[in-house]
């Protein structure tokens, strides 16, 4: 666990939520069968997976967005810089 995760765990938020009873029952069955787990941990994991999908979708939108002519020109300039920088790094290795 990273320091950041430890710090986050130390300042956990308590929330109330209305959930699908079938899912709650499934969570409870899982917790009963897996010592050391609890509802909060399962819900945390579910939210992490949800956020991972949100981030992935946002990443898709970011990279699929049309580029302006100016961005294309600036990108070309950066590609030249990056190619020269990479060439220099790998030549000296």
């Amino acid at each position: 666990m990273t320091d950041e995760m430890t710090a986050r765990a130390a300042r956990r938020a308590k929330v109330g939520a209305t959930l699908d009873p079938e899912l709650v029952a499934a969570v409870d069955r899982y917790v009963e069968g897996h010592p050391g787990t609890d509802r909060s941990g399962v819900i945390d994991e579910a939210l992490r997976l949800w956020w991972a999908r949100q981030q992935a979708e946002a990443m898709e939108r970011q990279f699929a967005a049309p580029r302006s002519r100016r961005e294309i020109e600036e990108r070309k300039a950066w590609t030249a810089v990056q190619a020269a920088a990479a060439g220099r790094i790998f030549r000296r290795r």
Binding site: Q55, Q62, E73, W78, V81, A83, A84, A85
Partner: protein, 137 residues
């Protein structure tokens, strides 16, 4: 490198005039490809993200490319005019993080280093670019 079309195209960025020094973390500098003076879109601005001991003592450093626009997203950080010395709102493309030789830096710093909140946002955007899942800032 300081004159001609490249200077005009980058006119929304204003460099401060200061005696040459080593680049500090959080500062914005102009970056170019040595030996390619014909590229009208260079130099390009970039924010120095590498740690200062390295910046001071080694011949290379790590930068985040700065674009004059672009779609925001998990690996992008908006930089408002004034931050780091820029004159127009810009976007840091953190997925394009790059290590360059010090000799690639041609002018700078544009202004004072950006604040810690921006640096933190940049680090989180870089981490997302490397595959980590992190909530929005």
């Amino acid at each position: 490198m300081d004159g001609g079309p490249s200077r005009r195209r980058g006119a929304h960025l204003q460099a401060t005039v200061r005696a040459p020094s080593w680049p500090r973390r959080g500062e914005i500098w102009s970056v170019y490809t040595p030996g390619q003076p014909e590229d009208p879109h260079q130099p390009r601005p970039a924010l120095v993200i590498s740690e200062n001991t390295r910046n001071r003592t080694t011949d290379d450093l790590t930068v985040i490319p700065l674009f004059s626009g672009g779609v925001l997203g998990p690996t992008r950080v908006a930089l408002a005019s004034g931050a780091g010395g820029i004159r127009r709102d810009s976007v840091l493309f953190c997925e394009e993080i790059t290590t360059v030789a010090r000799q690639f830096l041609t002018r700078g710093p544009w202004g004072a280093p950006v604040n810690d909140a921006i640096l933190e946002a940049i680090l989180r955007a870089v981490r997302r670019a490397l595959g980590e899942v992190l909530p929005a800032d």
